[in-house]
């Protein structure tokens, strides 16, 4: 018998709120976090909207010591990890620290601190850069900080696979729980808004409004959609071996029961092949969970308002679910939250767990003129529904496709 990986704690630092209650309340109320960005000077650029984390007081979670040397990503990750551990009522004592690891996905990691450091080098000279910034000059420094904060001894791993990073980190953590490498894993995804992140996708004209259309709204599956809106945040879970969680009487939000990941080429690939790979990824994930499409009560879509990605996701869902694709509810949290890159899959996981606990499907706002080619059951209002299994889709335009199945714990 395989071990089961269950979630016992949720920690959230999100533009939709700090903590899972605020996040969930805003998500189901359809309150958008998207507004003109304040942390970057975008006066020269066409696309100005974003969803920024506000109101985080990291001191509340991490204490004062050394706080001023931490970058935003580390503050996000550290605060959400502490929140998740507290939410799980978990005490990581010396014995448990030997069996506790951390596995985080991030698209860029600490790249923007690394490039800031370089900018300082060439402007001020190599001997003038602050030694305190030096901690950040490795892409995994946020994760290192958290591993030291909790004195974790089992392992620390940061992975990057673009927009699917968070999904892949959670999927990988499940496997490490299942094969007994750790009893507890702090797993999830983190991403911070930076000029770097902005420029990468602005130059590729993937951001809503970047091609000069004036449409800067996130409108997944709407025929007027023009790209995604950038977002940030950290979504972290306490994942435990089910036996360990039960033996300590922990509350269980749900089980991560399936994971699948495939690559579809970008350069050499037509849309047909991409749809096939997205479909096969969902299929392999559902098989990994040992259920069938009939058991999926809800699809938490990638739906990031991207012109091509939304279309191929809708086609893939229709192909795999057949007639059921018109019935099973599909929603995208990115309509209110935006695209948080490496943190997206983890944000979707939080939403899926809370959908299961609360029996609610959050609305997909702004989908008012549904793309006729995206013939899915998408709602502008929240929907009450008894939910046992959720499929999470996570797709990256550069070719990564990853999915998770989240199941109510029995």
């Amino acid at each position: 018998m395989k071990k089961k990986a269950v979630i016992t704690g949720i920690g959230i630092v999100s533009p939709l709120g700090i903590g899972h209650q605020d996040f969930w309340n805003n998500l189901v109320s359809g309150n958008s976090a998207i507004a003109p960005m304040e942390c970057l000077d975008l006066s020269k650029y066409e696309s100005k909207n974003g969803a920024e984390v506000k109101d985080l007081n990291p001191e509340e979670f991490l204490g004062r010591k050394g706080l001023r040397y931490l970058n935003n990503g580390t503050k996000f990750l550290g605060s959400s990890a502490k929140m998740a551990v507290d939410d799980a009522s978990l005490e990581i004592d010396e014995e448990l620290s030997n069996h506790t690891g951390i596995l985080i996905g991030s698209s860029l990691g600490n790249f923007s601190q690394t490039t800031d450091y370089f900018h300082d080098i060439i402007r001020e000279g190599p001997s003038e850069v602050s030694p305190m910034k030096s901690y950040d000059v490795a892409l995994n420094s946020s994760v290192n900080y958290v591993s030291v904060f909790f004195k974790m001894k089992s392992f620390a791993r940061t992975i990057s696979s673009g927009f699917t990073s968070g999904t892949d980190a959670i999927g990988n953590a499940v496997k490490l729980i299942q094969n007994g490498k750790a009893k507890v894993i702090i797993a999830g995804g983190v991403e911070q808004i930076s000029l770097d992140l902005y420029m990468i996708f602005y130059l590729q004209k993937m951001l809503a409004g970047a091609s000069g259309s004036g449409n800067e709204i996130s409108m997944p599956f709407d025929k007027r959609r023009d790209g995604f809106v950038m977002s940030e945040g950290s979504y972290v879970f306490v994942m435990e071996d089910a036996e360990h969680a039960q033996s300590r009487g922990a509350r269980i939000y749900g089980e991560i029961s399936g994971y699948g990941s495939l690559f579809s080429g970008n350069r050499n690939s037509d849309i047909g092949n991409r749809v096939e790979k997205a479909r096969n990824t969902m299929k392999s994930c559902i098989e990994d969970a040992r259920i069938s499409t009939d058991n999926i009560d809800l699809i938490n879509a990638n739906g990031n308002s991207g012109k091509l990605l939304d279309l191929l996701e809708a086609k893939a869902i229709t192909e795999l679910f057949g007639k059921k694709s018109e019935e099973v509810p599909v929603h995208s949290i990115k309509s209110t939250l935006g695209e948080s890159y490496g943190a997206s899959g983890a944000a979707q996981t939080a939403s899926a767990l809370l959908s299961i606990s609360n029996g609610l499907v959050p609305p997909t706002i702004n989908c008012e003129e549904k793309d006729p080619e995206c013939n899915l059951n998408i709602n502008n209002e929240k929907v009450e529904k008894n939910i046992n299994s959720v499929l999470i889709n996570s797709f990256d335009l550069s070719g990564n496709n990853s999915c998770l199945v989240i199941k109510k714990h029995e």
Partner: protein, 420 residues
């Protein structure tokens, strides 16, 4: 039944009973003292030092001017949207092409592409192309971005580009775990192979020398002024390096079916985390001890089975002392007789690529029954008193190798290769 009760190894054995065995069927190297496995291995066995004056950028504002850069690198193809300078993509592409050809999988059409994945480790990713641009127009950071940078700058580009180059359609991941990135990627791949999700994994690591990382190590006073002297009493730090090491991992079943040449079996890995400090290793090496001990236990082996330790051996005072202590703790009475060497003395510390390159070299040690030396070894250190294979390569029977990587932040991954 009595036997079961008496034998504590049994539970581990029974758990792994249905797991496929995983073997190495192809190797590729791009390192400072040689490009291609044959050149690189000969250079390593001959103790050829890859250290030279730094060329990648102007080092006049620094106290250190030496590095282990890849020399005379040429690539047989032109990539769209990429700079003419060397990139991680070019290094990993070249090493991957060599490894795939070596394994007989150049044309992976014969494989199930969805069951063929890629995992690559890096510390800094494709940072230098950004540095070239910004260096010329330093006023505004946005000047560091053009389309080429936008496409390659997210670290995941390393594996997505390779997946496209070689038509892989399975899972892919970039491991961002500082100096143990390569071994993390290999560990991730081994788990996927054990789980039966994939048949073939192209794994490894790649790194360039960004001025950013050079400055970082320089300002931490971790760089040696002239050369890297692991375990020597006069060791003064690491020499920064670059390159790529790639291997083809495959289930034994898949390799046997196509009669592939097999270098070694990947027996297992061990991970640990010091949870101690952002840059300094734990002084007693507790994390390193746990990593080695977990690797032995996953491999279902004892310290008595190991013939060679491919050390992390960075040449920094703290690491080499700590690693020696950890080796003594694990290998007990055998610590003094097992050869330990650090190829970082010849190719520098290639950061995210280091443990992958060392994994490739570990397989070559098994194939050739030979151990590359630790060069620049002159003055014994009473605190580091093991057999470091000083200055001369050694021919001896090598059936089983343990390969250590202990990164900044106390992020440790050790793996074990053995003759099939």
């Amino acid at each position: 039944m009595l036997w079961v009760l008496k034998n504590p190894v049994f539970p581990i054995f029974s758990k792994g009973f249905n797991m496929p065995r995983v073997v190495v069927t192809g190797l590729g190297l791009v390192i400072a003292n040689g490009i291609g496995v044959t050149n690189a291995w000969n250079a390593l066995m001959n103790g050829k030092d890859g250290t030279a004056e730094l060329q990648s950028f102007d080092s006049s504002q620094y106290k250190v001017h030496r590095a282990c850069e890849v020399k005379d690198f040429k690539i047989d193809t032109v990539f769209e949207n990429e700079t003419t300078a060397n990139t991680i993509h070019k290094y990993t592409y070249t090493a991957a092409k060599e490894a795939l050809k070596d394994s007989g999988l150049s044309d992976i059409a014969g494989c199930n592409r969805e069951r063929s994945g890629i995992a690559i480790g890096t510390l800094a990713g494709e940072l230098p192309p950004f540095e070239y641009l910004l260096r010329n127009t330093p006023k505004d950071k946005a000047n560091g971005f053009d389309m080429g940078v936008a496409l390659t700058y997210p670290p995941s580009s390393i594996t997505t580009l390779l997946s496209e180059d070689f038509n892989f359609e399975g899972p892919n991941m970039v491991s961002l775990n500082a100096c143990s990135s390569g071994n993390h990627a290999i560990a991730w791949a081994l788990d996927l192979l054990h789980e039966g999700k994939v048949d073939v994994m192209l794994v490894g690591g790649g790194e360039l020398i960004p001025q950013t990382e050079f400055t970082h190590f320089h300002n931490l006073k971790a760089l040696a002024p002239e050369m890297c002297q692991p375990f020597d009493k006069e060791r003064k730090g690491l020499v920064i390096g670059e390159g790529a090491g790639i291997m083809v991992l495959e289930t034994l079943d898949s390799a046997s079916k196509r009669d592939a040449k097999i270098y070694a079996e990947l027996k297992g890995y061990g991970m640990s985390c010091d949870g101690h400090h952002m840059t300094a290793p734990h002084p007693e090496g507790t994390g390193a001890i746990v990593a080695m001990s977990n690797a032995l236990s996953m491999a279902n082996m004892s310290y008595e089975d190991i013939d060679y330790i491919n050390a992390h051996g960075t040449g920094t005072p703290l690491n080499d002392r700590m690693e020696t202590l950890a080796i003594k703790s694990i290998f007990k009475e055998r610590a003094n007789e097992i050869p330990v060497s650090s190829i970082k003395s010849m190719i520098g510390h290639t950061m995210g690529a280091a443990s992958a390159i060392e994994s490739v070299v570990s397989c070559l040690a098994i194939k050739n029954n030979a151990i590359p030396p630790t060069i620049h070894y002159e003055t014994p250190d009473p605190e580091c008193n093991l057999d470091y294979v000083p200055n001369e390569g050694r021919e001896t029977e090598v059936n089983c190798v343990i390969n250590n990587s202990f990164a900044f932040g106390g992020n440790n991954v050790t793996n074990i290769f053995s003759r099939l």
